[in-house]
Assembly symmetry: C3
Homo-oligomer: 140 residues x 3
């Protein structure tokens, strides 16, 4: 069984932001030499997500608005007990649960086996600092 | 390492609908000959989900109602910017995030290793057209 | 390819409750002898979740409150059709979809490959009875 492990590092220059990381993940799959297997791609931080959806800027704006409705930013310790710790990012821990921590993508014939519109996104909900994404490829 | 890749294709005859695909996935696991491994099962479209829950018609109706409350259908470009592209399915992209893209199921002794009520569902949020689900089995 | 399968069993003494299971999962990874691979950890019941987030009691309380807002407990068959079956746990089936069924964690150099704050939680939404979590390790 072959395996490859890589870490992507980036700083999103906003509190909430989204980045298409498909080409970076695809390059790691190519580098791994795996022809048939699985690719795990996960946020290593608990205020961020990795998810698959459409690379359409209007949709990304819709997600921003919707996540803010479902789990509004509120730095006070009144709405969120977590903010009694001195943090102001409780909302980010909630937004991440909606969008998910990870994706697992099939590798077939040496490539990410995607439907027509699938793109891998990093979703940041507590940005302006360096964060990491893990990409693990296993297979034969 | 063994691997098997199959694609399930179907057209749900409603905008939102659910289909139990457990037996189709189980047949692919049997066909693969894998005794110990993992089975990835994911929607290949970004307005659909694969998830595991109970095959109880009342619950499925509850999910329909709940998803409509969390992310209402609205074809206009006012609520959802995505619909400025000419699409009317922004709500479906949101519903899919709640229910998830994929499941990963353990294979033990050649079978899907399920708890007593676990069933795999395809959830369609923008139906009336052909869609695909990917099933990838890896293991030994 | 090596594989190890273990089942964790516990009874959460409340209807909704959370338990950090990271050390139990890590011990299974060590026992497996897998150096590079994947660890699947999933609830085997459809009214429970396995997810990764921060081990901070205030945040856990925030999740309780938020999940109750998104999918309120209501034993009557009016809000939830599922409760017409004689069950009172429809809300739990909804809460579980928000928090997810499973996590897949990379194993690197024989250990769970975690970011600084990642901890694995079992989330129970219909407790006071025995439930199981499956841990499957595959790799080389």
């Amino acid at each position: 069984m072959k395996s490859t492990t890589r870490y992507l590092t980036f700083t999103i220059p906003e509190r909430m932001g989204f980045r298409n990381i498909t080409s970076e993940v695809a390059a790691i799959v190519t580098e791994s030499g795996v022809r048939e297997g699985l690719c795990l791609c996960n946020a290593m931080h608990i205020t961020a997500s990795v998810f698959i959806n459409d690379d359409e800027p209007g949709l990304i704006n819709d997600y921003r608005k919707w996540l803010e409705e479902l789990a509004p930013f509120d730095a006070s310790p009144t709405r969120y007990q977590h903010n009694r710790t001195g943090e102001a990012n409780a909302d980010a821990h909630h937004k991440r649960q909606i969008m998910g921590r990870e994706v697992v993508v099939a590798i077939t014939n040496g490539e990410l086996d995607f439907g027509p519109w699938e793109q891998i996104f990093y979703g940041e909900f507590d940005g302006c600092r360096e964060k990491r994404v893990l990409v693990k490829v296993i297979g034969g």
